[in-house]
């Protein structure tokens, strides 16, 4: 090998060049991803060792016990998983269309705000079942409207949607912060507090003794529906075509503007449902951190899963597991809770980086024969 390289050195050829792969068999792609995650976990353990002075096995043990240690922890893990998954499902149709909706955060908050508004204003004035229906509709409508505004401008004037939806997040956050003060529980607190704590008007019913079971079931149903919608429906096909090439879509007679607006309405409505589940089914209150950056994390979940709703269960599990595990590490070893963000960041970098090796191939000098 070294000999041939020396002989041929007169011909100027770079040491290696990069070629796009035509397609990698699915198990090889997953092997690369799993390898990246393992490498990332090793780096995470090293970082934790340096900062917490613990041996790596103990670090992993702590992470596992933080995620699965008790029955309650498992429920919390599943609940966080469901919420993150719900937002990820919401942003996915838009991404498949190559519409970068990074406004999930704002859409979730506005949906939650609509839910909270119904609970506060209508609580006790309507029968509870009817109230819940009104809340769902209101939150879906609110989220859909919040998402539709950038979509209309994108469809009509090609306004940059990434920047538009990003700005809408902060308008939404400030609106929530405003209404937190309008409906504040105690004067001057600026917090809404638990809504209808005694009467439980507008609280989602609890199945059995499991607080979050209903949330989890609802998200599971949405996951299946979204999978079917994207994969087997005519709408799903139109979304895929618009995402691949708007010109092709126009050529085969797809109304691109209509698809953009319709898909964003759906995206926003599902975000609204996530807001509803967070307010009515989980926290029973709303503040600016209710969405808890899920709107942004969801983008990574969706992208890592290649926009496939079923894989998203796995990717959101990975991120939620990391958060729960890292939180436990930080409490147990007395580190700041932001530690989980550092670990999440490291793992994401590895997974993002490994996609390169799935999509591209590095060909070294004179290795044509071996590759063939």
């Amino acid at each position: 090998m070294a000999d041939t390289a020396l002989k041929e050195k007169k011909v100027h050829e770079p040491l290696f060049h990069i070629v796009k792969r035509s397609g990698l068999i699915w198990y090889k792609a997953w092997l690369i991803r799993i390898f990246a995650i393992i490498a990332a976990l090793i780096v995470c353990a090293l970082v934790t060792m340096m900062l917490a002075h613990q041996n790596p096995i103990k670090v992993y043990q702590t992470m596992l016990s933080g995620a699965f240690g008790t029955q309650r922890r498992i429920w919390i893990l599943l609940q966080s998983l469901a919420m993150l998954l719900c937002v990820s499902l919401a942003v996915t149709p838009a991404f498949k269309m190559r519409f970068w909706n990074i406004g999930g955060e704002g859409q979730v908050l506005i949906g939650g705000l609509a839910t909270a508004a119904c609970m506060i204003v209508l609580g006790g004035k309507l029968p509870n079942a009817l109230l819940l229906v009104v809340m769902v509709i209101a939150s879906m409508a609110a989220g859909a409207i919040w998402a539709m505004i950038p979509a209309v401008f994108k469809a009509k004037w090609n306004t940059n949607e990434t920047l538009f939806t990003l700005m809408m997040n902060y308008v939404g956050i400030q609106l929530v912060s405003y209404f937190s003060m309008v409906w504040e529980a105690r004067k001057g607190s600026g917090q809404i507090g638990i809504i209808n704590q005694d009467t439980k008007y507008g609280w989602m019913p609890v199945l059995g003794n499991y607080d979050y079971l209903l949330n989890i079931i609802i998200v599971a149903v949405i996951t299946v529906l979204m999978y079917v919608y994207l994969k087997y429906s005519k709408h799903g096909y139109e979304i895929a075509v618009v995402g691949e090439s708007q010109n092709t879509a126009r050529y085969i007679g797809v109304n691109v503007k209509k698809v953009i607006i319709r898909t964003m309405l759906l995206s926003g409505a599902v975000c609204g449902i996530a807001g509803f589940l967070l307010v009515s089914g989980t926290n029973h209150t709303i503040n600016t951190t209710t969405a808890d950056n899920r709107g942004f994390t969801a983008i990574m979940v969706s992208w890592l899963a290649k926009f496939n709703p079923l894989f998203m269960v796995l990717t959101s599990f990975l991120l939620v597991f990391l958060q729960c595990g890292a939180n436990e590490i930080s409490t147990k070893f007395g580190l700041n809770k932001s530690f989980s963000d550092i670990l999440t960041g490291i793992i994401l970098f590895f997974i993002i980086g490994c996609e390169f090796f799935i999509n591209y191939q590095i060909k070294f000098r004179h290795s044509h024969k071996e590759v063939q």
Binding site: I18, K20, L163, M167, N336
Partner: protein, 333 residues
């Protein structure tokens, strides 16, 4: 409604608020001109701030007494460590998006998660990790050199208050903004950089080293943005790090890029307008607390209006770079 002295204070504070945003947006404009939408700017600004804090903290720890501090080192050490911190963040972003051609939005958001976590983690645990005896990170000693201004400013009344009453980093921000504007519009390299952002394939065919321009622009952009974080901690916050204190200024910086229609020189007045909008609620008398929350929406709403307006007008000079957000692969057709 405004008395003269209130107006002067308002302008002064608007500028102080605007400077970190100006640093961030100048950095982001340079990056975006190379075709990369770096949503990691908020994280990079956090990293730049905390790296400066770590440098200054370690330096202050070595001092035998408070008075032994050397003014030159007290400024240089935080400055260099901040530059190093944000440079590393920029390199990471470049490696993933330019070399590995990863999706820019996802990489940027991951970088923000990481950078904010990094900042808050070390901000809160620096004291514990180094086993120091101080209760919290308060670098007032270092900060005095960042805040030092010409003594003559106090004697010149309103003029001195508005124009001279700032630390050196304020002027540095404005200088960097104008130099960047000059670079982009008047120099050959600036032209090449814009060509890379508009259409990398054409630039490549013309013999421009696309990847080198992308790397340089993004890394220099990150360093400039990181200085915004340093300014915030050392000058605005008097050397006291507080978690989440930096708030959403990183996102405001990205908003300012649009507001300034991708021109660093317009970023200077733009940043003062943003700074003013950020604090105007404190100056409107008799305003209930809750209405001030609505006022904080203003910078974002103004940005949205500018975004819509420029997209409707379709004037070529006011558009984002053509290839913003797309990665470039030579062999792709």
């Amino acid at each position: 409604m405004f008395s003269m002295s209130v107006l002067v204070t308002f302008i002064h504070q608007a500028i102080m608020q605007g400077i970190p945003i100006l640093y961030g947006s100048t950095g982001e404009i340079l990056t975006e001109k190379s075709g990369h939408l770096n949503l990691g700017i908020p994280g990079i600004m956090y990293a730049g701030g905390i790296s400066g804090v770590i440098g200054a903290f370690l330096y202050e720890e070595t001092l035998p007494s408070r008075d032994a501090i050397n003014p030159v080192l007290a400024v240089l050490i935080p400055l260099l460590s901040s530059i190093l911190g944000s440079l590393l963040m920029g390199l990471l972003y470049c490696f993933l998006t330019v070399t590995l051609r990863a999706n820019q939005n996802v990489t940027g958001l991951a970088l923000t998660t990481f950078g904010v976590g990094f900042g808050n983690f070390f901000g809160a645990s620096l004291v514990k990790l180094t086993g120091s005896e101080i209760p919290s990170v308060a670098l007032t000693n270092t900060s005095q050199f960042f805040r030092a201004y010409l003594p003559v400013a106090d004697k010149l009344g309103a003029f001195g208050q508005i124009f001279l009453n700032y630390g050196f980093m304020t002027y540095l921000a404005i200088i960097i903004a104008f130099v960047s504007a000059y670079f982009l519009r008047k120099t050959r390299k600036g032209l090449y950089l814009r060509a890379v952002g508009e259409n990398p394939a054409t630039a490549d065919a013309a013999g421009i080293n696309v990847n080198r321009y992308k790397y340089t622009a993004t890394c220099v952009g990150s360093i400039i943005a990181g200085l915004g974080g340093l300014f915030y901690v050392m000058d605005y916050a008097c050397g006291v790090w507080s978690n989440e204190g930096f708030g959403d200024r990183g996102w405001l910086a990205i908003a300012l890029v649009i507001f300034a229609v991708w021109r660093p020189d317009l970023g200077v007045p733009g940043s003062i307008v943003f700074g003013g909008l950020y604090i105007v609620n404190q100056f409107v008398t008799g305003l209930p607390m809750r209405d001030s929350e609505l006022f904080k929406m203003l910078p974002y709403i103004v940005t949205i209006i500018v975004l819509i307006f420029t997209s409707i007008r379709k004037k070529r000079e006011l558009q984002p770079p053509e290839h913003l957000g797309l990665s470039y692969f030579r062999e792709e057709r």
